[in-house]
């Protein structure tokens, strides 16, 4: 029971991180029908920028752990969001009218570019996030101890997801995003600036992915320039699991995948942990390509 509980909460925390990354995939896919392969590398960039800011600004020493990390997260979101907008401008916008697969190749190129840019700037070694950023307050739920960090990550990701959901459902810009996702041409006729919508999507998605990178750094303590690839692929699996293009689907899919993976690693095999996500991905695509919540996808795949 104890082990199950630990694995479950661990899975939920990791799942929250997957969900944040998955949101970036699903929003971009919703509007552009493009798998943004470079998204995982934006996540890596978030992790590295977070580390650089953390060590160079030393904010956490001045304003305390919680506020400091909150401010850093906002900065990382802003910076990675800008990189996301630039990425769309340079690598995807010229290909808007091309065959979809050209954009996919361009996205792969961007992914390779980012990954190697990070390697050239920071070097190929593992970086270690400073430990003890936050006071280690013992917490226990249902009489079982649980690391504070785990709760914070889960809460932070759920809060961000709720904010995003409200933003997309309740605001004018959110409505424009949903309209552009359903039918770009019609949205344009209704006076929606689709280019602006795409820009916003390419800002929000990478911003969430970037902050997820920082969370991984804090949670696991170490980062590496290739980590975006595996996280990106898993988050994409989460997006597919929930139904790609569907924002609540990405959230559910992320949490579900995190739990499946944690329990699978604990009860089936640790060595096959990474394979579990891919098996889930392949099974979902074969059995139910629209995912759990993605009922409205009319296109046959």
């Amino acid at each position: 029971m104890e082990q199950f509980f630990q694995q479950l909460t661990n899975g939920l925390a990791v799942g929250g991180i997957y969900a944040l990354i998955a949101l970036g995939y699903t929003m971009v896919y919703g509007v552009l029908k493009l798998i943004n392969f470079a998204h995982g590398d934006l996540f890596t960039i978030g992790a590295y920028l977070g580390l650089t800011l953390l060590t160079s600004l030393a904010l956490t020493d001045h304003v305390g752990g919680f506020l400091g990390i909150g401010l850093l997260a906002l900065m990382v979101m802003g910076l990675v969001g800008v990189i996301g907008i630039l990425l769309e401008r340079i690598a995807y916008r010229p290909l808007r009218e091309s065959p979809r697969l050209s954009a996919v190749v361009s996205a792969l190129g961007a992914s390779i570019f980012f990954q190697n840019a990070v390697m050239l700037v920071y070097g190929a070694k593992f970086y270690v996030y400073p430990q003890n950023l936050l006071p280690n307050i013992p917490v226990s739920v249902l009489g079982m101890p649980i690391p504070l960090m785990r709760i914070l990550i889960l809460v932070a990701s759920v809060v961000m997801m709720i904010c995003l959901y409200l933003f997309v459902q309740k605001t004018r810009i959110g409505t424009a995003i949903r309209a552009a996702a359903i039918d770009q041409g019609a949205a344009r006729l209704m006076g929606i600036d689709v280019n602006r919508v795409i820009m916003i999507v390419f800002c929000i998605g990478p911003a969430l992915g970037g902050v997820a990178g920082m969370m991984v750094g804090i949670y696991y303590g170490q980062i590496n320039f290739t980590m975006g690839w595996i996280y990106g692929l898993k988050a994409f699996t989460a997006a597919i699991l929930g139904g790609i293009g569907n924002i609540p689907g990405a959230m559910v899919g992320g949490l579900l995948l995190g739990v499946i993976e944690a329990l699978g690693a604990a009860y089936i095999s640790m060595a096959w942990k990474d394979a579990i996500a891919f098996v889930v991905l392949i099974l979902i695509l074969i059995v139910r390509p629209t995912g759990l919540l993605g009922e409205r996808v009319a296109e046959k795949i």
Partner: protein, 316 residues
Amino acid sequence: MKVPGHLLAGALFALLLCAPLALDRYWVDVLNSIGLYAILGLSLNIILGYAGMFHMGHAAFYAIGAYTTAILNTSYGVPVLWTLPLSGLAAALFALAVARPIIHLRGDYLLIVTIGMVEIVRIALINDVFGITGGANGIFGIDRPQLFGFKIRQPQHFFYLIWLFAGLTILLFSLLENSRFGRALNYLREDEVAAEGSGINTAAYKLAAFVLGAGWAGMAGTIFAAKMTIISPESFSFWESVVLFMIVILGGAGNIAGVILGAFLVVGLPEIFRDFASARMLFYGLAMMFMMIYRTQGILPPRPRVYRLDRAGGAQ
């Protein structure tokens, strides 16, 4: 056009075969790598170029071929070159099994699933699946291939083995390109619904292309295992698949000459600019982006088929 084109290709190939006389061992070895990647690129070209299926897990088939050779040779003492058809068969059977359920997936979904497949294969190899793959260390001590009592050992010897196999591949695949099979693949790449409507069994043709490409990559795996004498899962990482994908896409998907040019550029150029080795993937990434923006079809795209009215039915 036809005769000079073939003559040019033949002359270039003859010139290439003389290359080991003028080059040192290092550069011959580079040419060997290029040749191996050219074979792999050509096998991927059937799937990605002719049939237009976005397949980014080709390293999985290559790995299965190489491991088949390694296991048969080190555990059962089968001579390396005898394992060549068996490797091809093993990779083809594996492709048949995995491709069946996923073959109908469209474009980018197929891409993602094949990436998942190659990762699962790599993880399986690392985890020493069935206890025969040697885990993360791989398998070492693979014999050198022997042909009519002659032991192929030096890079120069491998050069002729690899490039003769490449030449055979080019010959067979150019026949394939212009066959009924090749035309059917092109048709379903351009318009699957129309192809289906014209009586082409698209699922069967796609599957056949997949299996053929995979089998050929498996045979390339045999040559790789023989050349290296040691193989490990890291030789078949996802990036290997990306490099193959780039060879086909940058060179010119669907064109044999383009794919070979792609192999020279993607594998050969970094050797010339070895001083910038760490930045070479950065340039690959940039090249992929700009290529897609300015020249989507690759450097040497296939020439459209020309059918003359006075020679009914004759291609080009």
